[in-house]
C-alpha cells in the first residue's frame, strides 16, 4: 500500500553504496532471523538513518560527519542486533523456561490455569455452529484414541506452528481446524518458528509453554478445543467468546443479620445487604478472576453489574465457574463473621448479666444489713435497760444507738449508689438484648440458613435459654409452653414483659401465671417476651 510521496530534500540514488549501506550490511549479518525479516529490519533502519542524515545536513553538518553521527547514535551495532533479534524472534524466556528442571512439576498446574485444554466437563450452553451442542472433554479423559497432542514430539528448535499442526492432523482421524486469523492476533502465523532450545518435546507441552508466555504478555493464548468430531485450534479468547452467557447471582445471602432483627421486629421487610459489601464483592471478582477480560479493565470478554441485590454477569463459562466458587467461599466467610459477631455480642451480654447479678446481690445484702441494723436499733429502744436510771448503762445504750444510726446512714448511701447502678445496667441489658438476635441454642440453626419468612418469636432475660425460636407448627404457644421451651425460669418472682408491635406490656409474675388472665394468651409471630427479676 503506497501513500502519496512525501518531501525528500536530498534524493539519494539507491544504487550507490555509501557508509550507511556498509553499516547496514554489517548489522544485517548479525541478525539471527529469516531473510524476509532481516530485509524488513534493514529497510526500516535505512529509512531511519537517511532521515537522520537529512536533518543533520539541513542543520549544516557536512555529509561525512552527518553519516558518522547518525550511525553512532544508533549505539553499539552488536547490541542493537541482539535486541532486534530477540524482539523479532522467540524470546529468551522460552528457552530458560523449557530448560527449567521444575517445569514438569509446574506443567500440571499451568495446564489448569492456562487455558488451552481445561474446559469444564459440563456440556457448553452456547452453541456456535448450527445448533450443535458440543460436549467438551478435558485432555485427561480421552476416548479410545489416545490424546493426539501427546502422540508425537516436535523438534522445537526449527519446527514451525504449521508443521506442528500438520503433524497433529496425521495423528488423529478427526479433522483439525486451525483458526489462523485468530492466532494472528497473538503474533503467530504459519511460519512462526517455535524456537525453543531443547530436545524434542510433546505438542501439549509446547502449547503450554506458548500459552504461559503469551498469557503473561497479552492475556491470551493458543487454545485447543477437542470435541468428538473435530479438533479446533484457535485462541482462548475466541473459544471464550463462544461460551459467553449471562447469569444472575443472588447476593442477598450476604445480608447483615445483626441489622435484620430490628427491622423485622418493627417494620418487617426483605434482608438488606450492605452497599459496601456489594461493591467489595464486585471489585474482588474483577480483580481476581481473569482480570484482563473485564470491560472495566479494557477487555472484551466479561462484564458485570449490580442490580438491586443481584449480580448480573456476562462472561465465558469458565469465568462463571470461578465466580460460583468464589461466591461460595465468600459466603462461608461471611457466615463465619456473622457468627463471630453474634458470639461477641452474646459474650458481652453474658458479662453484663453477670455484673448485673452481682449488683443485685450487693443491693440485696445492703438492704438486709440495713434492716438488721434497724432491728437492732429498735431493740435498744425497747430494751428493759432503757428505763433504768443507770446513767452509765443509758449512756452506753445511746452510744450504741448513735453508732447504729451512723451505720444505717452509710448503708443507705451505699444502697442508693447500688440502686442507681442497678438501673443503669438494666437499661444497658435491655438495649443489648433487643440487638441480640441469636443466642447459641441447641434448638435451631443459625438464621443464615433459615428462610427469612419463618414465623418466629423471641425470649429474652432470665430464662435458661433465651433466643429466637420458631412458632410451633402444631397448637398454640402459651406463656407456659414458651417458658418450657426456653428452658424454664430461675426465679418464680420473675416478671413477664411482652413486647408486641412496638408496644410493651407488663403481664405479671411467673408465679401467678396459672391463675392469671394471661394464662391462655396466645403468642404470635414477632412477639418478644422478656423475663426479669427487677423489683418494682
Amino acid at each position: 500500500m503506497t501513500r502519496t510521496p512525501r518531501n525528500n530534500p536530498t534524493p539519494r540514488p539507491p544504487t550507490s553504496r555509501d557508509g550507511i549501506d556498509a553499516w547496514l550490511d554489517v548489522l544485517t549479518s548479525m541478525l539471527a532471523l529469516p531473510p524476509s525479516q532481516r530485509a524488513q529490519v534493514r529497510d526500516e533502519l535505512e529509512d531511519h538513518l537517511r532521515s537522520r542524515v537529512d536533518d543533520l545536513l539541513i542543520a549544516g553538518s557536512p555529509e561525512p560527519e552527518a553519516v558518522r553521527t547518525a550511525i553512532a547514535e544508533l549505539g553499539e551495532t552488536a547490541q542493537l542486533a541482539r535486541h532486534i533479534t530477540s524482539a523479532n524472534h522467540t524470546p529468551k524466556s522460552f528457552r530458560r523456561f523449557a530448560m527449567n528442571a521444575t517445569f514438569f512439576v509446574l506443567a500440571g498446574s499451568i495446564l489448569t490455569a492456562g487455558v488451552s485444554m481445561m474446559m469444564p466437563n459440563a456440556p457448553q450452553q452456547q452453541t456456535s455452529a448450527a445448533g450443535q451442542t458440543e460436549s467438551v472433554e478435558t485432555s485427561r479423559h480421552q476416548p479410545a484414541e489416545s490424546d493426539p497432542l501427546n502422540a508425537f514430539t516436535i523438534n522445537v528448535r526449527s519446527a514451525t506452528l504449521s508443521d506442528m499442526f500438520q503433524n497433529l492432523e496425521s495423528h488423529t482421524d478427526r479433522p483439525v481446524i486451525v483458526h489462523w486469523d485468530q492466532i494472528a492476533n497473538l503474533g503467530f502465523d504459519r511460519e512462526s518458528v517455535i524456537g525453543i532450545d531443547s530436545q524434542p518435546i510433546k505438542a501439549d507441552l509446547v502449547l503450554t509453554i506458548l500459552a504461559e508466555r503469551t498469557e503473561q504478555e497479552i492475556s491470551d493464548s493458543i487454545a485447543v478445543l477437542q470435541t468428538d468430531n473435530r479438533i479446533e485450534i484457535g485462541t482462548r479468547s475466541q473459544f471464550d467468546r463462544r461460551t459467553r452467557a449471562q447469569k444472575i447471582y443472588d447476593l442477598s445471602i450476604f445480608e447483615d443479620i445483626t441489622e435484620k432483627f430490628e427491622r423485622n421486629l418493627y417494620r418487617g421487610g426483605p434482608a438488606q445487604v450492605n452497599e459496601k459489601t456489594l461493591r467489595t464483592i464486585l471489585t474482588l471478582l474483577e480483580g481476581q478472576i481473569s482480570p484482563h477480560d473485564w470491560d472495566t479493565a479494557g477487555g472484551d470478554l466479561a462484564s458485570a453489574g449490580i442490580l438491586n441485590q443481584t449480580l448480573v454477569v456476562t462472561a465465558p463459562e469458565r469465568v462463571h465457574d470461578q465466580i460460583k466458587t468464589m461466591l461460595h467461599e465468600l459466603h462461608q466467610q461471611h457466615i463465619e463473621q456473622q457468627r463471630a459477631h453474634q458470639q461477641y455480642q452474646q459474650q458481652s451480654i453474658e458479662r453484663l448479666n453477670d455484673a448485673f447479678a452481682a449488683i443485685r446481690e450487693s443491693l440485696k445484702n445492703v438492704r438486709m444489713e440495713i434492716r438488721a441494723k434497724q432491728e437492732e436499733l429498735k431493740r435498744i429502744g425497747t430494751s428493759p435497760f432503757h428505763n433504768i436510771n443507770d446513767p452509765d448503762a443509758r449512756a452506753q445504750a445511746e452510744l450504741q444507738a448513735q453508732a447504729l444510726h451512723a451505720k444505717i446512714e452509710e448503708l443507705k448511701l451505699q444502697e442508693q449508689e447500688l440502686d442507681r447502678r442497678h438501673g443503669q445496667y438494666q437499661s444497658m441489658l435491655i438495649n443489648y438484648e433487643f440487638k441480640d438476635l441469636i443466642s447459641p441454642s441447641t434448638q435451631h440453626e443459625s438464621t443464615s440458613t433459615q428462610p427469612t419468612d419463618a414465623p418466629t418469636y423471641t425470649v429474652l432475660g432470665e430464662v435458661h435459654r433465651p433466643g429466637l425460636y420458631r412458632l410451633p407448627e402444631q397448637g398454640d404457644l402459651t406463656l407456659s409452653r414458651l417458658i418450657h421451651t426456653a428452658g424454664g425460669i430461675k426465679d418464680p418472682d420473675t416478671q413477664i414483659l411482652l413486647l408486641r408491635n412496638g408496644e410493651s406490656r407488663m403481664l405479671g409474675r411467673v408465679a401467678d401465671l396459672n391463675a392469671s388472665d394471661y394464662a391462655d394468651m396466645k403468642l404470635a409471630r414477632g412477639d418478644v417476651v422478656r423475663f426479669s427479676t427487677h423489683e418494682p
Partner: protein
C-alpha cells in the same frame, strides 16, 4: 491495583502514536521534542519495543515507498514502515495512563507541600 509493569517507554510510544500514525525516526523525534530532550529513547530500545507492540497487536504496520521530489519515477525509493495505534492499543494506553495516574496520586499523598516539616523522605 493494575498488574502492569510500569514501563514508561511503552506509555510514551503509545501516546505518541495516539496523536496519529508515525514511523520510527519521527517517533524518536517526537519523544525528544515533547520532553525537551530530557527523554531519549535509543534505537536499541525503541525498535525492539515497536516490534513487540506489533506482535501484541497494539499497533498495526504498513509500508510506504518514499520517493524524492523530482526523482526518476522509475527508480525505487526507500521503504518506510508506518505504525498505527490499534483499538487494542488505545485500550492498553488508557490502562497505562490510569495506572500512571493511580501511582501519581499515591505518591502525591506522601509528598504534599506540608510534609517537609515532618521529615519527608529525601
Amino acid at each position: 491495583m493494575l498488574n502492569l509493569k510500569q514501563d514508561h517507554s511503552t506509555l510514551v510510544v503509545l501516546s505518541v502514536l495516539a496523536d496519529g500514525p508515525s514511523y520510527g525516526y519521527a517517533i524518536s523525534k517526537a519523544i525528544a521534542a515533547k520532553s525537551d530532550g530530557h527523554f531519549k529513547l535509543t534505537a536499541s530500545g525503541m525498535y525492539p519495543l515497536l516490534t513487540k507492540l506489533e506482535k501484541q497487536g497494539l499497533v498495526t504496520t504498513s509500508w510506504e515507498e518514499v520517493k524524492a521530489e523530482g526523482a526518476d519515477p522509475d527508480a525505487t525509493g526507500r521503504k518506510r514502515k508506518w505504525y498505527t495505534l490499534s483499538p487494542k492499543g488505545h485500550k492498553q494506553l488508557a490502562k497505562h495512563i490510569e495506572a500512571h495516574r493511580q501511582m501519581q496520586s499515591l505518591i502525591d499523598a506522601f509528598v504534599t507541600p506540608a510534609s517537609n516539616a515532618h521529615g519527608a523522605p529525601a
